[in-house]
């Protein structure tokens, strides 16, 4: 178990190195930091001084090593646009994105899994057909369109829910949460649905396919032959066996939700990291972009590790060194 975690961590290192190399390359190839910081009318002497100060005259790999050294400590320099430390900016925005992503993932799982189980068990019922049609819509409509349609219906038309922003937030240490106020919760609903809908339909279709597969297996037939109740068979024996692939996809999707919250955050003007990233792209704010890129890579690597560990919890066949064979 411990060796497994270590080997997974070691595998993560090349991934992170590659991403950090790309991030670093952005500094060199996306815009010119010196002219951005000094403006167009700086003298040659001023430029040379800044280049020396920033260490830009040093060999490429020395700069890269320095970059990594600082990145490991969470230092990504100052934002060009806001002249504030990047780490601070991201820390400020992270709670909004994480809360949104968790809500979206929760909706996707809490609705997608039961719908998948239902459609897998009752393949030909009218409700199943309705769910499947609905899931096609969820898969094929682009996120921004769903967001705009929801705004049109619930914010503009019915006026029940706010169309943008996070509502009132409560500060707990450095974390700002929207869960503790009514306006914060109301503001959460539309963006979370928008962000979670695609994952919801994906999970539903996956659970359905897996359920149908598992229900055909011998051990389900044998469970029926043993006279177990439908409930024990469907929700105990069958559902648990569908969970391994579902955990994989759901885990990867959580990474995707955090990474691609950009569109949803833009549509709803959600003050999260995605919106920060979009604004940074607009003004070629390379330090923020680089930090965001690396953070997302870190999120994916971490979630993958957690997913692998969850397999161990679910599937005893993966646990090694236990019992005789």
């Amino acid at each position: 178990m411990f060796a497994f975690v270590i080997s997974r961590l070691l595998q993560a290192i090349p991934v992170m190195l590659t991403v950090s190399f790309i991030s670093f390359a952005m500094f060199t190839y996306v815009g010119d930091p010196v002219s951005i910081m000094l403006g167009q009318d700086a003298t040659e002497a001023e430029r040379a001084a800044l280049v020396a100060q920033l260490g830009l005259d040093q060999p490429f790999f020395v700069q890269f090593l320095k970059f990594i050294g600082q990145a490991v400590q969470g230092q990504f320099g100052l934002s060009y646009r806001l002249s504030r430390p990047v780490a601070e900016l991201i820390a400020e925005r992270a709670p909004a994105t994480l809360e949104l992503a968790l809500c979206a993932a929760f909706i996707a799982m809490a609705v997608g899994v039961p719908m998948g189980v239902y459609t897998g068990l009752y393949r030909n019922s009218i409700l199943s057909r309705f769910f499947l049609t609905f899931s096609l819509i969820g898969v094929s409509l682009p996120t921004f369109l769903i967001g705009i349609l929801l705004i049109l219906a619930f914010a503009v038309g019915l006026g029940w829910l706010p169309s943008f922003g996070r509502g009132d937030v409560v500060q707990i240490g450095w974390w700002s949460t929207g869960f503790l106020t009514v306006s914060g919760l109301k503001a959460m609903i539309l963006p979370a649905i928008t962000l979670g809908l695609f994952q919801l339909t994906l999970i539903m279709r996956l659970v359905r396919a897996e359920m149908m597969e598992v229900l055909r297996t011998d051990y389900i037939k044998f469970a029926r032959a043993r006279g177990l109740s439908n409930r024990a068979i469907n929700f105990g024996h069958a559902l648990k066996n569908t969970l391994v692939p579902v955990i994989t996809i759901a885990g990867l999707q959580l990474g995707a939700i955090i990474a691609f919250a950009i569109v949803t955050e833009t549509v709803f003007q959600w003050p999260g990291m995605g919106l920060l990233f979009i604004q940074s792209v607009g003004s070629a704010d390379v330090p923020v972009m680089a930090a965001y890129l690396m953070l997302i890579a870190l999120v994916f690597v971490t979630i993958n590790l957690i997913v692998d560990l969850l397999y161990y919890a679910v599937d005893p066949r993966l646990r090694i060194g236990k019992g005789a064979h």
Binding site: T217, D218, Y219, K221, F222, A223, R224, A225, R226, G227, L228, S229, N230, A232, G236, H237, K240, N241, V314, D315, P316, R317, K322, G323, A324, H325
Partner: protein
């Protein structure tokens, strides 16, 4: 003769397909007495396993019982709703499947699977059920049962898993076991052990058994009576000794001749020429007529019912005069 434990009357199983309805079982009738072992033999696809599945009510949809009756202890069970039938399954009729590698749920310990079966059917609390589960594991010959009960199926070998499956099938003390090729997936050296175990437990508990197999050796040493199936029908049924020594139906003769004799060398094993017809292309008359060495005019036009043929019943016109 006492009242039969199981009585199957004119059972007919159909599979609707796009090209019309296929009949997998025609007019299958049989009885099993309490404590009796009825062997069922035949080629793959003859309907042996289908008969077992129909009795326990687990035919895969879209297949369905289209006619006939199944009676257990005089009570009809083929038309019970799912929730009543599930109290018959496991409690009254246990089942053992072919492949022990796939019949156990890989994600639950064998103990959990035993305990859930026991508590489903018997009025025991979890602690008592667990004690009972350990007893059963000991009965089926799992060493160190009280420790192995918390092992997962993948931690057992194939033969041990089949022992666990047997424990699962028997743990609610059913009156009848349907063993569908219980040893086919096992090593030859293990097969004999598992059959011996099954035989011993059935005798000790007084459990009747429908033993589906294509291994005549297993039948010869285990069964009391034998039913031979061909193309969805029982074509010969009778006491095991008679069927093995003096088969009356040419197909049964062919089956027996294909068993290698132990007392002399043979250059080539006798085999039955050709193969069983597909369900969609069963010839008129006797289904065996294209392969039968003793075929004559009547076989091609008229299908024989089971006829008394001395010591057994055989569906063959050779015995039309009794």
């Amino acid at each position: 003769m006492t009242a039969p434990l199981l009585e199957v009357r004119n059972l007919r199983v159909e599979f609707p397909t796009r090209r019309g309805t296929l009949t997998a079982l025609h007019d299958v009738s049989l009885t099993i007495q309490p404590g009796e072992v009825l062997g069922m033999v035949g080629e793959s696809g003859a309907g042996k396993s289908m008969t077992g599945a129909a009795i326990i009510g687990l035919i895969e949809p879209p297949g369905r019982i289209a006619g006939g009756q199944v009676l257990l202890g005089g009570r009809r069970i083929d038309n019970l709703p799912y929730d009543q039938m599930r109290h018959v399954r496991g409690r009254q009729i246990g089942a053992i499947f072919q492949d022990p590698l796939t019949t156990l749920n890989p994600l639950y310990t064998v103990g959990r699977q035993l305990v859930e079966t026991i508590t489903t059917h018997l009025p025991l609390n979890p602690a008592q059920a667990r004690a009972r589960a350990i007893e059963w594991l000991e009965l089926v010959g799992i060493p160190a049962a009280s420790q192995r009960i918390d092992s997962y199926p993948h931690e057992f070998s194939g033969g041990m898993r089949q022992r666990v499956v047997i424990a699962l099938a028997l743990c609610a003390e059913p009156r009848l076991i349907i063993a569908d090729e219980p040893t086919t997936a096992l090593d030859v050296s293990i097969q004999a052990q598992v059959i011996a175990l099954l035989k011993r437990l059935a005798r000790e508990k007084g459990t009747a058994m429908l033993l589906v197999t294509h291994d005549m050796g297993v039948i010869a040493e285990t069964a009391d009576r034998v039913a031979v199936m061909y193309a969805g029908r029982i074509i010969e049924i009778g006491p095991v000794r008679q069927i093995v020594k003096h088969p009356r139906h040419p197909y049964t003769e062919g089956l027996m001749a294909s068993i290698p004799p132990l007392d002399r060398r043979v250059e080539r094993l006798a085999a039955i020429e050709g193969s069983m017809p597909r369900l969609s292309a069963i010839p008129p008359g006797c289904a065996y007529n294209p392969r039968c060495p003793k075929v004559f005019g009547r076989c091609l036009t008229e299908r024989p019912e089971l006829l008394d043929a001395g010591t057994t019943q055989a569906a063959c016109w050779l015995h039309a005069d009794g």
